[in-house]
């Protein structure tokens, strides 16, 4: 039915099967869109946020998708700037994932603000001292870079490629892609970092506050580094999921191992910095503000030391160890364990750095603030996931995302 659109010699499931799959995800998207509409029309009272807990579940989702979408800029940087050419076999997937993540992040920000119609104030009346301004600028600019990176892939669709203008355009864009990728990497370094800065500069919040360098707190550098380190984990996770669903091998192992190895070393170096940062904060920064390290991890049901353990050991040391040791990373089960744990680890880190920040009391007579998201928040947080499933499915079906697919599946 849609065979004219499917890449030549590629095997895809029949259209009805595909349509059913998309419809299922579509229902979830509609549910999310309904919740989003409620938030826009009736306001943020639809959420369970309150004056003590002003950042909601979806802000965590926002930071998390940006972190795991970091695979796009880092893979782009490795391929186009550092010239690791074999990564061209996975860069398309990284770009699609990046596009999904960043468009979701922008959508979430549009739902999150109390007066969405005034959102442009952040550009027009920008306060250059605010980390959030830096986030908004780099995020929207980097999103346009991702669009630019995504366009050539779309234009390579069998039908579109037949139109001469599009054919030339996609070819020419590939020609200058290194410039775009370098710009994207530059932007990414700043906005990943400034997202880290968002919490790190809050000197009124001892749990989040970090000393730093120039105008940036240490979390600025940690966030950039962790996004680059863990982003590829998510790219590989998605790759493994797609391979599982399509029952096909799509990228050669040597490419996967290269990316996994780089990711492993990045995570290792990141962890060293993260542990130093945590220790310094626990022993110097927090006590100087009058806080015991343990005062952030006790007295309530939810935020125990387990979260620190999960972030640093389960989501850090274990995946790093697996990914840097050749035998382990080339064992397919261990590899999957490592990339999944890595993805979860960075998500936990983002949770800690935005949501846990809100929870511990600062004034001595204050109480712990915990909150439970409303269904509208859950729906709008699930929305990007379903949307991502649809977009990646469409891309896989109609675009030549995996250059090695033909070779690996020749019969």
């Amino acid at each position: 039915m849609d065979s004219a659109l499917i890449p030549k010699e590629a095997k895809r499931c029949s259209f009805p099967v595909f349509a059913v799959g998309i419809a299922v995800a579509g229902v979830i998207v509609l549910w999310g869109v309904y919740a989003m509409g409620l938030c826009w029309l009736k306001g943020l009272n639809q959420t369970n946020m309150n004056d003590y807990y002003g950042f909601a579940l979806w802000i965590w989702a926002d930071l998390a998708v940006i972190a795991i979408g970091g695979g796009a800029f880092f893979t782009g940087l490795l391929k186009y700037v550092f010239g690791i050419d074999e990564l061209k076999n996975i860069i398309n997937l990284a770009v699609v994932i990046g596009f999904v993540c960043y468009s979701s992040a922008l959508l979430i920000l549009a739902i999150d603000i109390g007066q969405p119609l005034r959102g442009w104030f952040i550009f027009w009346h920008a306060n250059v001292h605010s980390m959030l301004t830096e986030v908004a600028f780099c995020l929207s600019l980097y999103f346009s870079v991702l669009i630019i990176e995504f366009i050539p892939l779309i234009l390579e669709n069998r039908k579109l490629d037949k139109i001469p203008f599009f054919h030339h355009l996609s070819h020419n864009m590939h020609g200058v892609m290194a410039v775009f990728a370098a710009t994207g990497a530059f932007l990414s370094c700043f906005h990943q970092g400034s997202l880290g800065g968002v919490a790190g500069v809050l000197y009124g919040r001892p749990f989040a506050f970090r000393e730093g360098l120039l105008v940036w707190p240490w979390t600025f550098f940690l966030f950039t580094w962790s996004a680059a380190a863990y982003g590829p984990c998510f790219t590989l996770t998605v790759l493994k999921i797609v391979e599982k669903i399509t029952k096909k091998k799509l990228v050669k192992d040597n490419v996967v191992y290269t990316l996994a190895k780089i990711s492993g070393w990045m995570i290792t170096t990141y962890l060293i910095a993260k542990i130093i940062d945590t220790v310094y904060w626990a022993l110097v920064t927090a006590p100087s503000l009058g806080f015991n390290f343990m005062s952030f991890y006790s007295n309530n049901k939810f935020y125990g030391l387990w979260i620190l353990f999960a972030e640093i050991v389960l989501g850090g040391i274990i995946p790093a160890a697996i990914l840097i040791k050749k035998d382990w990373r080339e064992n397919s089960k261990l590899l999957i364990l490592a990339i999944v744990l890595g993805t979860l680890g960075v998500c936990i880190n983002r949770w800690v750095m935005v949501l846990q920040v809100m929870a511990p009391p600062v004034m001595t007579f204050d109480t712990w603030a915990l909150y439970y998201p409303s269904w509208q928040e859950v729906a709008t947080t699930v929305l990007p996931v379903a949307y991502g499933v649809i977009l990646i499915s469409l891309a896989y079906r109609y675009l030549p995302v995996f250059p090695q697919e033909k070779e690996l599946n020749a019969e």
Binding site: D51, G114, P116, Y203, V362, F365
Partner: protein, 277 residues
């Protein structure tokens, strides 16, 4: 003439609250709400999403009867001077749209509702919970909108608001001074609604830069340390964070003074020295 006005010595308006006098009656909260057109809900059970620019906290010394003591702490916006008292308050420096700023001529932290787009970053930055979000559009009981103050603009849903130290009263006092061709206003001409409403006279308001004013005499702010009180009985909330608030508290009771800040166990003495040096 205009230039002279601007070169006049900068004010630094602040508040001193005597916690031993405060009975926790809540008059300041009520006066503040009616003075500043603060919206309210039909059901105010959930205190964490209702707006109280001036909020009275209740704390105890944690001892059992008969040694139990209670203290009430009224908490307006602290109008922090920020690190080094340079005007980089925790909230001002983070606002992405410049919807809040630090006025160097009065030391007051503003909040411009029509500029705010409701990202709530400032609320996350404020350790005092002095900033409130309008989760709903205000609904006034019928006829009540006629009783709203014309000097304070009502807020819409989706923006952040907070105590302004009744800045409109400062404006009105200045108008009178202009009309009478005076250079400056007097202490009693500019008083906040909460200070005037307090039946126990626990709240004193004035210019911390003016040694004639009561607030100055009560706490003796140290200009070389961001206004830290030299008076041993006075303290500020969360002094160690370096926010440099302009709201001071006074108490004879040591446990109350200690409740103003956090301490690492075993290091209380260090801090006491630091607080009174």
């Amino acid at each position: 003439m205009i230039k002279k006005h601007n070169k006049a010595k900068a004010h630094k308006f602040g508040m001193v609250i005597d916690l031993d006098k405060c009975t926790g009656c809540g008059s300041c909260m009520v006066a503040c709400m009616s003075e500043n057109n603060v919206p309210f809900k039909e059901n105010e059970t959930n205190k964490k999403d209702s707006i109280t620019w001036m909020h009275v906290y209740r704390l105890t010394n944690g001892k059992s009867f008969p040694d139990t003591e209670i203290c009430y702490i009224p908490r307006p916006c602290m109008h922090c001077g920020g690190k080094g008292d340079h005007g980089h308050s925790p909230c001002v420096s983070v606002c992405p749209a410049t919807a809040t700023d630090y006025d160097y001529t009065t030391g007051i932290v503003s909040q411009i509702y029509t500029r705010c787009f409701g990202c709530r970053y400032c609320m996350a930055a404020c350790p005092y919970h002095a900033r409130y979000f309008n989760w709903w559009d205000p609904i006034w009981p019928s006829g009540m909108e006629k009783t709203l103050s014309p000097d304070v603009s009502p807020r819409m849903r989706g923006v952040v608001e907070k105590c302004s130290f009744c800045f409109h009263r400062y404006q009105a006092a200045k108008d009178t001074a202009y009309f009478e061709e005076r250079e400056d206003i007097t202490e009693d001409e500019y008083q906040t609604a909460c200070a005037q409403a307090c039946p126990a006279n626990a709240i004193v308001f004035g210019d911390l830069n003016n040694s004639e004013h009561e607030v100055y005499k009560l706490v003796k702010p140290d200009p070389y340390h961001g206004g830290r009180p030299k008076e041993p009985k006075a303290f500020r909330l969360l002094e160690r964070l370096g926010t440099n608030p302009k709201v001071y508290y006074i108490s004879e009771r040591e446990w109350v003074r200690k409740a103003g800040d956090n301490y690492v166990k075993g290091k209380e003495k260090d801090h006491k020295k630091h607080n009174t040096e």
